[in-house]
Assembly symmetry: C2
Homo-oligomer: 333 residues x 2
């Protein structure tokens, strides 16, 4: 690995002034072709790379967008990240990612680190802990000139652009779909009952089911959901399960298989999970596809637009999810 070299050193080597070198490298019209060539050669030879910190300090811009995510195990967030990247890749912005692992403290640290001159804009989906604590001051303290966009797990009290998923409607539609298929006794499983999105989905279920029966909710950690679901399937004549996240989906799936009610279509199951996982389960899992990539792309585009036009009105975009029918909602003989 070579040694890094500064403009000043380069200038000394070439026996010209720093500004000449700077201008030459920036292809300024006020520099002769011959010096430009000389400077460029020397720069290449010595592997000159402008110092980012200096550039940032000078310009007040960083040309970097920060992305703060609670997790990348979550397939939806992973896809959203790809969507964001695919858009940013076509710009001259860099992207830096920070994962909070659902920790509020890590989120605060990340946001502070990023917004103190590391990024021009921030795309964030908050951590579970942040939503539980309802503690958003770290977002409200972000300086004006750094633009923030929240997606998926958003918070109304924070004034910024937002990209959401139609959580309430998606589950409402799922319930209706099940009812249409003659499944009236439906149980809900969730490990994300502390998340805004989980609560919206649950509300969709409650509203959708209210004409049939009292809501049957199994909410808690994955193990808990599995145990409870197992018991429920033994004790009651459940006709369908809606699971609100991958963990609840898999827990429900295991419980269903254990009771042999999934293979024969006695109990239908609609869950949330990635494509690969859903298709490799036996029977394959019907899911609600939230179009993570589209959510990511939309978020990135929206932030980019705001970066261009800081004065624009705050926007909010909802991305619709769609039902992907697979074997767990298929009537068998």
């Amino acid at each position: 690995m070579k040694k890094s070299i500064t403009l000043k050193e380069l200038a000394k080597l070439l026996k010209v002034s720093v500004s000449t070198v700077s201008k030459a490298l920036n292809d300024s019209h006020e520099i002769s072709e011959s010096t430009k060539r000389k400077v460029e050669e020397a720069a290449k030879l010595h592997n000159y790379k402008p110092n980012r910190a200096a550039l940032n300090l000078k310009s007040g811009k960083t040309n970097t967008i920060g992305v703060v995510l609670p997790s990348i195990k979550n397939f939806f967030l992973a896809r959203a990240l790809r969507g964001i990247e695919s858009v940013i890749a076509n710009t001259d912005y860099n992207i830096i990612i920070s994962i909070t692992n659902e920790s509020h403290e890590k989120e605060v640290k990340s946001v502070e680190a990023l917004t103190n001159g590391m990024v021009d804009g921030l795309i964030i989906s908050v951590s579970e802990e942040t939503q539980v604590l309802q503690e958003f001051s770290h977002l409200n303290e972000i300086p004006d000139d750094i633009h923030v966009l929240m997606f998926d797990r958003v918070e109304n009290s924070v004034q910024c652009d937002k990209v959401l998923v139609d959580d309430y409607d998606a589950i409402l539609k799922a319930v209706r779909d099940l009812k249409f298929k003659g499944r009236n006794k439906i149980v809900l499983a969730s490990t994300i009952n502390k998340l805004s999105v989980g609560q919206l989905r649950t509300r969709g279920y409650i509203d959708g089911i209210k004409d049939q029966h009292e809501p049957i909710l199994i909410e808690g950690p994955e193990d808990f959901v599995e145990v409870k679901m197992n018991r429920l399937l033994q004790e009651q004549e459940i006709e369908a399960i809606i699971a609100l996240d991958e963990e609840a989906s898999l827990a429900s799936f295991r419980a269903g298989k254990k009771n042999g009610v999934l293979e024969n279509g006695k109990v239908f199951l609609i869950g949330y999970a990635g494509k690969t996982m859903s298709e490799h389960l036996t029977p394959s899992l019907t899911t609600i596809d939230q179009h993570g990539k589209k959510v990511g792309r939309t978020s990135a585009k929206l932030l980019l637009e705001r970066l261009k036009k800081p004065q624009r009105d705050i926007q909010q975009i909802v991305v619709d999810s769609t039902l992907r029918e697979r074997d767990t909602t298929l009537k068998r003989s």
Copy 2:
């Protein structure tokens, strides 16, 4: 969101000099307690946050470690990332992540962006394209004072610390294990034949199998592996499959199920896949666990040590993988 404020402005407000404010905020002994208090109050009130770019420029350090990964869909890399984070989280370093999506161009861009004054150190696993092109100049051009650590997909010609997985040995052991179980005719499936790690694993297979029969290799994209494997299972009496990556594992799994040879144990299958996926397949998949998290932790620790002692000799650490026996290597009636 508030307005950001600089040291200078704060000084003006307090009618003291910039240096006094700076010292007070850094808790210097040469400032009186009373001014310290006043300054700190004002700083809090106006939500003062030191400008990172200025700090970096001044100190020549960034307190940030860059992590460049080819993908996060890959469960091993995702786990490695968590390992890295878990170590860095306990230091005062920040971490910024860049995903290259297996593209050489993106990798070059990322590395350049990061190493031009954004980070003090870099942890990288190179992209597939980079390994195919054998193009590593972007790594060799990184300035001396930025320390690099390669993990998993490493390149000998780059002088830096390295953390590897025992790819060759792991497969060699897997072959032996299968032979011990009486499975002699073994086929190898891989979608990563262009990666160094894939080639090492393949060599382990070839060396392990050489006393039994000519190697039977199915190498190519996921679809191709599935089709070929399907045909092979119909035409020959295969006793076991070793799949070198998640895609090949799933393709082999599908082909095996289609031929009904996995459920009855007629064909054994050892693959690479995450825990959740492996356990939810039916039958569940025996895998080689590469201990991604440990790889990540080891990498981060090693880099941190080098950051402390830049002069230390270059190190190379190998993390052993272990076989996780599940149903696809279980003898049935």
